[in-house]
Symmetry: C2
Subunit: 374 residues, 2 copies
């Protein structure tokens, strides 16, 4: 019988039909179109405003005319360099379309509808998006003193028989961090059959010793890393996961094998080899963190300690007040974001900008605070 | 209880555990590493050796220094331009990480374990990879005179209560094609509740009238298009799907919202606006098809008609013979591929190269044939 119209045509699965139409983040370009003007400072997505290594830019430019070729489906050269950097073999590394893409693959690998997953209440929404998208059940643990609470995450995982724990070190959106040795020690309390996802997207900005001293062959943990933050290549979409070879091999069964942009592969490889640029980025980000702290202080606010390229600034009142401050900054052309969940939503989150970006923030903040105080 | 080792740590889902470790395609770089030498001619992946528009190259080069920014999560400008080009609105267009990425999303949206899907036996393996990866059951219909058999696909879908039919026009790997008006007319025989995936990856190379005259709001069909072929940007990973707004909206619930490479978005937009380059590519590809036909003929082989940027060449014997010819070409530094399934596997498939690439093919083919004939 031919199709007669009506709603039967799409027939998405019941799971897909049950999903909300909301998205994890509204991008700045979308917000710019909504407000009808570009932002004057882009300090909301924890991008690295200082940009990638000049060598990475050159590599991507050179690759533009070769873009008629698919990328290397195995990302062999990049994986080899990453394996060498992290003390493992290629079999411990999978390269994917950003950490977002890799988290999606990992959740698909591990989670069936109804399976339990543990994360912190207010942690990375895109991870939650993937878990919900595959029918997993999220169990959320409160932050403790603005930091993710690893023992509580482990305990909740034991209670719920969770298959995955998500733990970011340093944390986003608060910028707090754990000493790496404490993370490694905590692994002994990981419930059997549970995998710890250790998201180290910001770890290159953190103090020495923040990266957990975990052997890449340790089957209890998978680490997520990215070229989007310290390496300044958010728009290139290059993330990687480090873990035990049998786990990494599972990605081969489901990933988009020709999904990597060829120029991005070249750029990431060049960026990885420019340690001097990375050191310079660390210095610039450290100076920007200090400057954000100074601007906060001048305005009677408190900047929280940060091991990342952003600073959460405590606006001193509740979430409604911080949301008003945020709205005031957005209205004045300053793109920033803030935590979603109380009591962390007393803060606004400001990415480390160039001096000129932070000058604009300094100009806009007093008015935003005045308006919020009504 | 702490983890004591063993195999329990990964715990992938039973579906993932059941999947084979094989991949849809072994990339040319992987083959080059295996043989220990680069290929002299890259004619196996249906890449557009002539490359993208110079405007696209310039746009990607310019974007390299701005790569610190995530891409626009909505691909707004590109979607708008595509909507205008195809006579719809933004709501009829979703942009994704190549057709491969979009097919993965679509299968995830529609297929639960056990659901039936219909395709042609020997058609696109990456589609099959996604179907199997989500637990779908593939029902395969034989080619008919080296073309996909749309009435038989529809009949099989009715028998099996299939949710999806995959149909490529023009076809890969044979290069055959249907007149678009016949495809549109056949939609009246589509079983209720079944969606036709019309993969038009190669349609820009095809004769006028090959693109099906289907309204973008028609809920029975979703069309897949790409910048990888005629636009010469395979390594950029930009595909798009055209369809009814309610169906397109479902992608928003599951896609990797910040998954697009920012430079690739710019490049694709520039490429789309360079119609003169597209026309030039069509001319060069047409000349290359003729030259492949001439080379085949000189060697006593038969080139099949093609509406694509590749030509399937009938080697005149069985699959084992064609595989020997293929091996002989690979051994002589010519990267080509061939159909996987009999009787189409009597052919080898040669992408349209530059004159110098085809000169190398012409040099290598006689020896490969001599060796295959033993």
């Amino acid at each position: 019988m031919p199709l007669s119209g009506g709603m039967s045509y799409t027939r998405p699965t019941p799971l897909i039909q049950s999903l909300p139409p909301s998205v994890p983040f509204v991008g700045p370009e979308v917000q710019e179109r909504q407000r009808g003007a570009p932002f004057d400072a882009r300090l909301g997505a924890n991008e690295n405003v200082f940009g990638p290594s000049p060598r990475a830019i050159e590599a991507m430019r050179d690759a533009a005319s070769e873009i008629w070729q698919y990328g290397d489906s195995s990302s062999h050269d990049l994986r080899s360099a990453l394996a060498e950097r992290h003390g493992g073999s290629n079999r411990n590394v999978v390269v994917g379309e950003g950490i977002d893409g890799l988290l999606g693959y990992l959740v698909r690998m591990m989670i069936e509808p109804g399976d339990a997953v543990v994360t912190s209440d207010g942690a990375y929404p895109t991870f939650n998006y993937h878990v919900t998208g595959y029918g997993g059940i999220l169990h959320k643990v409160a932050y403790r003193e603005d930091a993710e609470d690893l023992p509580a995450l482990m305990a909740r995982a034991a209670e719920t028989h969770a298959k995955l724990i998500y733990f970011a070190n340093p944390d986003n959106p608060m910028g707090s961090w754990w000493e790496g040795a404490r993370v490694a020690a905590a692994l002994d309390d990981l419930p059997e059959g549970c995998l710890l996802i250790l998201d180290e997207a910001y770890v290159e900005f953190a103090p020495e010793g923040t990266a957990a001293p975990v052997d890449l062959s340790d089957p209890r943990v998978i680490r997520m890393r990215t070229f989007s933050k310290a390496y300044g290549m958010a728009g290139a979409r290059v993330g990687y996961a480090l873990g035990a070879a049998p786990l990494i091999a599972e990605f081969e069964k489901i990933r988009n094998h020709f999904g990597m942009n060829r120029a991005a592969q070249s750029g990431a490889l060049a960026a990885l080899h420019d340690d001097a640029w990375l050191a310079e980025i660390r210095r610039r980000v450290a100076r920007a963190r200090e400057e954000i702290g100074r601007i906060a202080s001048v305005n009677g606010l408190t900047a929280l300690p940060s091991a990342t390229n952003f600073v959460s600034v405590d606006c001193g009142k509740d979430g409604d007040f911080a949301r008003s401050v945020l709205a005031g900054l957005l209205g004045r052309g300053i793109f920033v974001r803030m935590p979603f969940v109380a009591p962390q939503d007393r803060c606004i989150r400001i990415s480390c900008g160039r001096p000129e970006d932070l000058d604009r923030l300094a100009d806009a903040l007093p008015g935003a605070l005045r308006d919020a105080r009504g």
